[in-house]
């Protein structure tokens, strides 16, 4: 029982990270109808930037800020320099270009930093609190919940309560009409990419210290888990992405805890297959038909 409780909290903590990352995928999907397969590599690049700053200044928090800013900058760059020019006649094109970006980013990171795993510090202890002899969650887990919660709240407020959010939704929903009404559609798209990449970077800097360490391919597994989370929730639904992230986090935690860590990727694959074949729109999808 105590193991179950511990695994549940561990799963929710992982799930929060997957939720943030899935949210990044959903943001771009809603804005541009592209699943950003380069999201993982972009996040790793942002974490490497943070790593350099932390190593130079000794401050985790400065590195944390740099990761988010690097995410914003990368998002803008990728959208303005590459994705804007992708031919959208076939959904294949966007995917293939993003995969090309993965190769570029991973190659550049390997050249600059080398291909060894680097340990990344956490700002808080990862030792779990114990309540009545049952290990619950660590200070770091609390930090993860707070950070992801803040991002989800901020994005929700942005999209539902502000003018910019309204314009972003309009630009994604009806680009031509929005343009006629004076919404800078291209700018909104760039903003969407920037926000998504920043959310992805946040997920990266939260999850990488808890795994093997920093490596150009460190986010490949996280990407698959987060993609699964986004599909479980429905690629169109931000709330679904958060819920899907928690579901995938819990699943991974239980499977790793009871069956062994090596089984976890297979469990993700199985979940993805089941959801895609059973309910391809996702459990939280509001749209009735999948068009792409």
């Amino acid at each position: 029982m105590s193991q179950f409780v511990y695994l549940s909290f561990d799963g929710l903590s992982r799930g929060a990270v997957y939720a943030a990352f899935a949210l990044a995928l959903v943001l771009i999907w809603r804005a541009a109808r592209i699943v950003n397969f380069a999201q993982g590599a972009m996040a790793v690049a942002a974490v490497y930037a943070a790593y350099s700053v932390t190593a130079a200044t000794g401050s985790y928090w400065l590195g944390f800020v740099v990761a988010i800013v690097a995410g914003l900058v990368l998002g803008v760059t990728v959208e303005r320099v590459v994705m804007r020019f992708v031919d959208h006649s076939s959904p294949l094109n966007g995917v293939v270009v993003a995969l090309g970006l993965v190769l570029v980013i991973q190659g550049v990171l390997g050249i600059v930093y080398g291909n060894e795993f680097r340990p990344v510090p956490t700002p808080f202890s990862r030792d779990a609190f114990e309540v009545g002899g049952v290990a619950l969650l660590s200070r770091y887990d609390v930090f993860v919940f707070a950070a992801v919660g803040a991002v989800v709240l901020a994005l929700t407020l942005l999209f539902t309560r502000t003018n910019v959010g309204l314009r972003m939704r309009a630009a994604a929903f009806a680009p031509d009409v929005s343009r006629l009404l004076g919404v800078p559609v291209g700018g909104m798209l760039t903003l969407g990419w920037a926000l998504a990449a920043a959310a992805g970077s946040l997920a990266g800097i939260l999850v990488i210290p808890t795994e093997l360490g920093l490596h150009p391919t460190a986010m490949d597994g996280v990407f698959v888990a987060a993609f699964t989370a986004a599909v479980v929730g429905g690629l169109d639904s931000p709330i679904g992405a958060v819920a899907g992230g928690l579901v995938v986090g819990l699943l991974l935690s239980y499977v790793s805890g009871y069956l062994g860590a090596t089984v976890a990727p297979m469990a993700v694959l199985l979940l993805l297959v089941v959801v895609l074949l059973g309910r391809p729109g996702g459990l939280f999808s509001t749209t009735t038909a999948r068009t792409a």
Binding site: V35, V95, T217, L276
Partner: protein, 341 residues
């Protein structure tokens, strides 16, 4: 590229094949192609030094899988990032069969059969998925390989992998030369079969489904069955290719089939020109030539970090530039120009 009209795609096999096939394939009948190819390879293998022969063999092994993948992605429009995993399936099956029976033909057939079945399973799921969903699913398949080998480590020996028992080549043939012959025999046979397949009705069905599923269905093409068939054919090629890589390396391990391999394969067929077997050959050549070139540069500059990584950057940049400049790939530009001139 001209779209095959629906009527054309439903015509009996008697009509003259035309459309976007490269001219070399249209001119030469497959038996003649095999013969010519075999002559070139055998001749080359006597001229080249051992290491070049090994590289020649690697090109052949890559050609098997890029040929299959270009039929799937180029002609049928299904994107697969899982072909690295399918190659791993072929390689591991080959290794297990070879270590038990030590018979090359039996092991090769076993590798192809098992991978074909794996391809059938993935293909059945893939036929219901489109675009990014399919890419995500096959990506998950590619990432799961090390997990499978570690979980069932009494069979696959986790990260260390298996060594492959191989008979020495017959007579006094050097090993590298024998490998080149073997790989190219596989490559020429599989790609000729592909060439025959895509020439006929199956090929027209593939293109019809890719260009417009609704129109294809209205014209009586069984869309799902065509897509599954494309996946199965392509998987069989990947299995053969994986087995040939096991022969080349004389070992198999999950590290030999990373996600990057699947991305490289995709890059190769895109740059070669999606949907043309000649382009697949060019892509296979690039897969061997570019890393060699990058390695030479890395050694020249004396920076160990460039090794391997430089190839990644070059591949990635070329892939992005080609996709932005011409979604059909370089070969499509070339063929289009030739046609209009």
């Amino acid at each position: 590229m001209t779209r095959p009209s629906v009527r054309e795609s439903r015509d009996a096999a008697s009509d003259v094949p035309r459309g976007e096939r490269p001219r070399s394939l249209r001119r030469l009948a497959p038996p003649a192609m095999i013969l010519a190819g075999a002559l070139v390879i055998v001749g080359l293998s006597f001229l080249l030094p051992p290491f070049r022969n090994y590289q020649l063999a690697t090109v052949g092994a890559y050609f098997c899988v890029t040929g299959g993948l270009t039929v799937l992605t180029g002609l049928n429009g299904q994107l697969s990032l899982g072909h690295g995993a399918l190659m791993a399936t072929g390689a591991y099956t080959f290794a297990l069969a070879q270590n038990r029976w030590l018979s090359l033909p039996v092991s090769l057939v076993a590798a192809i059969v098992v991978t074909t079945v794996a391809g059938l399973v993935i293909g059945l799921a893939a036929a219901r998925l489109r675009g990014p969903y399919l890419a995500g699913l096959t990506l998950a398949v590619a990432v799961v390989v090390p997990s499978v080998t570690s979980t069932f480590d009494e069979i696959f020996n986790s990260d260390q992998g298996l060594s492959v028992a191989l008979d020495p080549p017959p007579g006094t043939i050097p090993v590298e030369q024998w490998q080149a012959w073997l790989c190219w025999a596989g490559a020429l046979l599989s790609t000729s079969l592909l060439a025959v397949l895509v020439r006929g009705r199956f090929g027209r069905d593939l293109r019809a489904v890719r260009d417009d599923e609704t129109a294809a269905r209205l014209a009586g093409v069984d869309v799902a069955r065509t897509q599954v068939a494309a996946f199965v054919v392509s998987a069989a090629c990947a299995g053969l290719s994986g087995a040939l890589f096991a022969v080349l390396a004389q070992s198999v391990s999950p590290g030999a089939f990373p996600l990057t391999l699947s991305l490289f394969l995709l890059m190769a067929i895109v740059i070669g020109g999606l949907g043309s077997l000649a382009g697949a050959l060019g892509g296979a050549f690039l897969l061997v030539a570019l890393p060699t070139l990058a390695q030479a540069v890395a050694e020249g500059t004396g920076s160990p970090r460039l090794e391997g990584n430089l190839a990644l950057v070059i591949f990635g940049v070329v892939l992005v530039v080609v996709m932005l400049a011409a979604p059909g790939g370089l070969a499509s530009i070339r063929f289009r120009r030739r046609r209009t001139s």
